[in-house]
C-alpha cells in the first residue's frame, strides 16, 4: 500500500496504490471511484479490503479521493460532478503512469459509478470495462433522499443546524454546492452517453432496474444479495465490509479483466 498525492498544486488528490503481490502474464489494473459523502465514509473499509484482495490476485489497484472530498485538497463545497469526472480521468492517467498496465477496469460506487460512466468516454484510453455498483440513475430522487434523511436526523436529535456556506446544501454533514446539487439533480439515464464507452457491468440494486438502461448500452448485470444501508449516521462503529460484497465485486472485476 503506497500513500501519495498527485495532480497540480492546489488540486492535489490523495491516492492509495495497492501494487500487485503476484505477477500476471498480462498486467492489468483497477481504478476505484468513491461514492458521495457519508457513503464514502461507510464504504472506506470495504474498498480497502477489496483493493487488497485485487492486489493479491495480481491487479494494481488505485483508490483516491476527488477534489473537495476525503483526504484530498479542497473544501466540500468546492466539489462538483464535472470536477469528479476530471479527477477520474487524472487518476486513470496516474494509474497508467505508475503501473504500465495494458488493461484497466474501473469500479464506480453509487454516485461514483454514475460519474465514471460519464467520464469513461472523455479519457484518451478508455477503460476495458466499467463495473458500476448501484449507480445513481435518478439524481433528483437521490438528492431528495439525502435531504430528507438529513432533515429527519437533525429533527430527531435536535441538532444545531443552520445555513450552509453560500448556497450549499447540508447533506448528512457534507456540503454540496449549488452547482453540485444541480448536477446531481439532473442525473438520469438520459444524461448518459448514447453508446457505452466500454463494457459495462452493473452490480447490485441497479441491475434489477435493467429496463431503465438505454437499449444501446446492453449492460451485463450481476446480482448482489447484500442489502446495504449506505448513509446510516447512527452507528459510528459499524462500517460496511460484508465479505459477500467483496467476493462478488472481485469476481466481476477479475472476469472483466480476463
Amino acid at each position: 500500500m503506497q500513500a501519495f498525492r498527485f495532480g497540480p498544486a492546489g488540486r492535489q488528490l490523495a491516492g492509495i496504490l495497492h501494487p500487485p503481490t503476484r505477477t500476471r502474464s498480462a498486467p492489468a489494473s483497477v481504478l476505484i471511484c468513491n461514492p458521495f459523502g457519508q457513503e464514502a465514509i461507510r464504504i472506506h473499509r470495504l474498498l480497502r479490503l477489496l483493493a487488497e484482495n485485487l492486489a493479491r490476485k495480481g491487479f494494481a489497484t488505485l483508490r483516491f479521493d476527488y477534489f473537495g472530498t476525503g483526504d484530498s485538497d479542497g473544501d466540500d463545497e468546492q466539489a462538483s460532478l464535472s470536477g469528479w469526472r476530471a479527477d477520474i480521468g487524472a487518476a486513470h492517467a496516474e494509474l497508467a503512469r505508475a503501473t504500465l498496465a495494458r488493461k484497466t477496469a474501473w469500479l464506480g460506487v453509487r454516485l461514483g459509478g454514475t460519474a465514471a460512466l460519464q467520464a469513461a468516454e472523455g479519457v484518451a484510453w478508455p477503460p476495458a470495462h466499467l463495473i458500476a455498483w448501484e449507480p445513481v440513475l435518478d439524481g433528483a430522487a437521490y438528492l431528495s433522499t439525502l435531504r430528507a434523511e438529513h432533515a429527519d436526523y437533525v429533527r430527531r436529535h435536535r441538532l444545531l443546524a443552520g445555513p450552509a456556506p453560500g448556497a450549499a446544501s447540508d447533506l448528512l454533514g457534507f456540503a454540496a454546492s449549488a452547482v453540485m446539487a444541480e448536477e446531481i439533480g439532473r442525473l438520469g439515464v438520459d444524461t448518459l452517453p448514447g453508446r457505452p464507452p466500454c463494457g459495462v457491468t452493473v452490480v447490485g440494486a441497479g441491475e434489477r432496474d435493467a429496463a431503465r438502461w438505454p437499449p444501446s448500452w446492453n449492460v451485463n448485470s450481476r446480482p448482489l444479495d447484500v442489502e446495504l444501508n449506505w448513509t446510516s449516521e447512527e452507528a459510528l462503529n459499524t462500517a460496511l465490509a460484508p465479505m459477500a460484497a467483496i467476493g462478488t465485486l472481485a469476481a466481476a472485476i477479475e472476469e472483466a479483466l480476463a
Binding site: M1, H44, V154, G162, G173, L236
Partner: protein
C-alpha cells in the same frame, strides 16, 4: 495550504497526512486521531476541516490512522493490546512530525476512542502538552439521572411521559425485572477505568501542565447530562477547575451538521490559540 500524505512508523505501516502551518509555526503541533474505526479524515471530514483551519492559524496538524484502521496496517512488531498499540502509534506519529517540522511538543484532539487513546498517550508521553477530548470518559453523579430525565422530557415530552408511566405500571404490578446486583453501566465499548484511576491520571496530567479540555455532546447524554457533572463528580480534586468543560447537547458525537462542525472547529481553534499560540 500544503499537505503531504506519507507512510511512517517503525515498520512504515502507518499512513498520515501532514497539513503544514501557514506563517510562523507554533511550537506545538496538533495530532488528530481516529474516532472509532472511521479513517483519518474523521467523521464528516472533521479532522480535515480542523487541520486546515488550525494550520491557517499557525499549527502544523497531523491526521493519521492507527494500526489496522483506515490505510494503516499492523506492523510485524504489533503490541499486545489495542491501547498499547495506540500509544506506540501516537509516539511514532510525533516522531514523524518532528522529523519533518522540527516541532517536538504536541496537543491531541480525539472523539470517543480518540479521546480515550489521547488520554492514554498523554499519561505516559511528556511530549503531549494538550488534550482535547470529545465524548471521552464520564462518571455519573447522584443527580445525573434526574438531569438525563429532564433532558429527555424537554426533547420528547410525550414519549418520555409514556415511558415513565409504563415503567411505573410495571413496578406497581411487580412485573419489572429486578436489576442485577452486578449491573454494568452503559459503556459504549470504552472500557472506562475506575473513577479513582481516571482522577489520578488527570491529577498527573494537570500537575505536569498539560492543558486539558473535555466537551460532551447530546449523544453522550447517558454518560454526561449536565454541565456541573464534572465539578460535582470530582469536587475537591486539584484538577477540577483546571480542566475546561463544555456540555453541548445540540451537537452530536460525529458533528453531523455543518453548523455543528463550525462550532467544533471554532471551539478547538480558540483552545489551541489560547494555550499554544506562538513559538
Amino acid at each position: 495550504m500544503s499537505e503531504q500524505t506519507f507512510a511512517f512508523g517503525r515498520g512504515g505501516n502507518l499512513c498520515g497526512t501532514l497539513t503544514s502551518a501557514q506563517g510562523s509555526p507554533a511550537g506545538v503541533a496538533i495530532l488528530l486521531l481516529n474516532a472509532g474505526i472511521i479513517h483519518r479524515i474523521g467523521p464528516h471530514r472533521i479532522n480535515v476541516k480542523l487541520a486546515r483551519d488550525l494550520a491557517g492559524h499557525g499549527f502544523h496538524c497531523f491526521r493519521f490512522d492507527l494500526s489496522g484502521l483506515g490505510d494503516s496496517r499492523f506492523s510485524a512488531q504489533a503490541r499486545s493490546s489495542y491501547q498499547e498499540q495506540a500509544i506506540a502509534d501516537i509516539a511514532d506519529a510525533m516522531q514523524a512530525v518532528t522529523e519533518r517540522t522540527g516541532v517536538s511538543r504536541f496537543a491531541v484532539f480525539g472523539i470517543c476512542s480518540g479521546a480515550q487513546n489521547g488520554l492514554a498517550a498523554a499519561a505516559v508521553d511528556a511530549r503531549l502538552a494538550g488534550l482535547f477530548m470529545v465524548d471521552g470518559y464520564a462518571y455519573a453523579t447522584a443527580s445525573s439521572a434526574w438531569h438525563r430525565r429532564w433532558f429527555y422530557l424537554r426533547r420528547a415530552p410525550l414519549t418520555s411521559i409514556a415511558r415513565w408511566l409504563l415503567s411505573l405500571r410495571r413496578r406497581l404490578l411487580g412485573t419489572a425485572a429486578a436489576a442485577p446486583s452486578d449491573a454494568v453501566e452503559i459503556d459504549y465499548g470504552q472500557n472506562t477505568p475506575p473513577k479513582p484511576v481516571f482522577a489520578q491520571m488527570l491529577t498527573t496530567l494537570v500537575g505536569r501542565g498539560v492543558r486539558v479540555a473535555a466537551l460532551f455532546t447530546g449523544s453522550w447524554i447517558e454518560r454526561f447530562s449536565y454541565l456541573r457533572q464534572w465539578h460535582d463528580g470530582f469536587r475537591g480534586e486539584t484538577f477540577v477547575d483546571r480542566v475546561e468543560i463544555d456540555f453541548q447537547p445540540e451537537l452530536d458525537h460525529t458533528a453531523s451538521t455543518l453548523a455543528g462542525q463550525r462550532f467544533l472547529v471554532e471551539r478547538v481553534r480558540r483552545w489551541a490559540l489560547e494555550h499554544f499560540a506562538g513559538p
